[in-house]
């Protein structure tokens, strides 16, 4: 797989940032070697590309995503306080102790 140059990476990341919350195709799904930008927020929701779906299943996935967009509208309409942090906790972990090697 072709490695991205720093410039290509920033180009992709910038478009992703502009697309914001409504972008429905994760950055990781865009094949890196094409250099194609991610789907913009105005694009039709698109299922991931690697899946082995029949046309009928793809249609249902589109419908499901559209249904979820409706369900989630109320969540997205909330104005969250700037300082409201997520309710999960990340803990640092001490490195596992290894037995000393003698000699």
């Amino acid at each position: 797989m072709k490695r991205l140059t720093r410039r290509e990476f920033h180009s992709l990341a910038a478009v992703g940032a502009i697309a914001g919350a409504a972008a429905t195709t994760p950055l990781a799904q865009v094949p890196a070697h094409t250099g194609v930008a991610p789907q913009s927020q105005v694009a039709e929701p698109k299922p991931p590309t690697k899946l082995l779906l029949t046309p009928e299943q793809e249609k249902k996935v589109h419908e499901k995503i559209a249904e979820r967009e409706q369900d989630i509208a109320n969540l997205r309409s909330r104005v969250l306080p700037y300082d409201l942090e997520p309710a999960f906790v990340f803990r640092v972990r001490a490195a596992a102790r290894r037995p000393r090697v003698k000699g």
């Binding site: 994760p26 299943q57 409201l84 997520p86 309710a87």
Partner: protein, 507 residues
């Protein structure tokens, strides 16, 4: 073989009989194995029988007890485990055809703890495939086929802990371990007439349980009495270094306290009543049973006050949280060919669609989760527990399409507003069609979604039966880590009611 009278005893009663050597573990195990073999297929309750393993353990228990080494109230007691718990050398199918031959080389912590307590695993029990993580459209969404409610076998046992739902009230096992992400213990407990406890998040180690959602999965006991739930929780609760989310706060099971002479058992207790709009969302027979249950609680001395949940889009938050996590957990599976071996088409579609949940929606759900935890904690400054109907409708028929109006029970009127908005990923659909944009009113009664988001404990116990002989459940929800409070209220309720003692005919 032991009589049905014995096999329908509570865990506590069986334990004291074993301790007194009036019942022998081998005979008890053989008797339950015989019932599992005889009735398991009819109820669709069993994934794998563990007969050889069970009989070895029973013999060992018998020797230990005879030698005076009695381990405690679960010593020599058989049990079943939902088939998402890893068991060393025994198949763990996750209820899904792609995993039909999966065998782990270790035991889940909960299995290990029960073995330490001397309990005997007699069966891995049926479940909805992958615990219904993608959503499912019918009761048959399982490698094991549909599980049936023992009280009316034309109807579903509930999911996704469907095997425990079918096996416990029919005395195929004295108790079982189920799991809940969003309603999967409370729903089968309600639909099948079980006393089912969903402990506080982190109270029971998740190590070795199929991960659907790291932040919402809980394991809990499904028994025939609330008191038994406390006994089993006693054995399985506790910090586990193999699950960093398990809590260090010890669980202390307090035997039910007797009221002082001249005082009612729940005197001075405040209960917040979450009353859904039954006319819009529910079933009149469920409403009637719920109202009678409230009167019973009032008669026990509790002060009841109607209340509502704080205003949040609980269903959307809960679904976003677990769907995004499930998509991450199962991504390689979803992107592979084995996805297509799943039974239910809705599962496949739901899992694929979950791959595209934006990270911002997931994070916003987590941020709202902080607020919800705080706001719900405030409710428990006013109330000892919240009560609500466990489900707004009784169990649907086993052949019902959960996505269609036909999923409604006979008592539903055509044109009823679809779905009860409890937020259960399966139960909503089981009760009726999934919805878009649940109304603010109905969200204020979404106790299953709200309490699962906040990781609060809840217990569902039977509080009546419909004319079709379908169980109705009432749930008690308490503050985080107040598991024993839930159990205590339910235990007091069961001291003056006998719904939990009903036996299904033919079993």
């Amino acid at each position: 073989m032991l009589s049905d009278e014995v096999l329908y005893m509570s865990v506590r009663e069986l334990g004291s009989q074993i301790k007194a050597r009036k019942i022998r573990p081998v005979q008890l195990t053989e008797s339950y194995l015989a019932r599992l073999e005889k009735f398991g297929p009819k109820l669709g309750a069993v994934a794998t029988l563990t007969s050889k393993h069970a009989l070895q353990l029973a013999k060992q228990a018998e020797k230990e007890i005879d030698a005076g080494n009695y381990r405690g109230p679960l010593h020599g007691i058989p049990f079943g485990a939902k088939d998402l718990l890893a068991t060393k050398g025994i198949k763990t199918t996750w209820g899904a055809p792609p995993f039909r031959d999966q065998v782990f080389d270790y035991d889940a912590t909960v299995i290990h703890k029960l073995a330490e307590a001397g309990a005997i695993l007699v069966a891995k029990l049926a479940m909805i495939e992958l615990a219904g993580g993608g959503g499912y459209s019918n009761a048959s969404a399982s490698l094991q086929g549909p599980s049936r409610c023992p009280f009316n076998t034309d109807h579903w046992a509930g999911g996704s802990s469907s095997g425990p739902g079918a096996a416990v009230p029919s005395a195929l096992v004295p108790f079982a371990i189920g799991s809940e992400t969003l309603g999967s213990i409370i729903t089968p407990a309600a639909f099948s007439g079980v006393s089912g406890l969903r402990p506080t998040y982190g109270r029971v180690s998740r190590h070795g349980a199929m991960a659907l959602s790291w932040t919402m999965d809980k394991l809990g006991p499904m028994c025939r009495t609330a008191g038994d739930c406390g006994l089993v929780l006693d054995a399985i609760a506790g910090f586990d270094p193999l699950d960093e989310t398990s809590v260090r706060t010890p669980y202390i099971s307090r035997p039910a306290r007797h009221a002082a002479p001249g005082h009612a058992p729940l005197e001075g207790k405040h209960i917040g009543v979450i009353r859904p709009d039954f006319k819009a969302d529910g079933d009149p027979e469920v409403e009637m049973a719920f109202n009678v249950a409230l009167e019973t609680l009032r008669g026990l001395g509790a002060k009841l006050e109607e209340t509502e949940l704080p205003d949040y889009p609980y269903s959307a938050i809960a679904v976003t949280l677990y769907s995004a996590e499930a998509a991450s957990i199962f991504r390689p599976f979803i992107q592979g060919e084995k996805l297509h071996q799943l039974v239910d088409e809705s599962q496949k579609i739901g899992l694929v669609a979950a791959l595209s949940i934006p990270a911002t929606d997931y994070l916003d759900s987590f941020r709202l989760r902080s607020q919800i935890q705080t706001d719900l904690a405030k409710m428990f400054e006013r109330f000892d527990v919240l009560v609500a109907p466990s489900r707004l409708r009784p169990a649907p028929r086993v052949d019902a399409d959960f996505n269609a109006s036909s999923a409604k029970t006979a008592t539903d009127k055509p044109g009823d507003k679809p779905a009860e908005k409890s937020g259960d990923k399966s139960g909503d659909k089981a009760a009726a069609k999934p919805t878009t944009n649940p109304s603010r009113d109905s969200e204020r009664h979404s106790i299953i979604a709200a309490s699962n988001i906040a990781g609060l404990p809840a217990i569902s116990v039977p509080c009546g039966f419909t004319k079709e002989n379908l169980p109705v459940g009432i749930q008690f929800v308490a503050a985080a880590l107040a598991d024993d409070t839930c159990i205590g209220f339910a235990h007091n309720f069961q001291k003056v009611t006998d719904w939990h003692q009903r036996r299904p005919s033919g079993f």
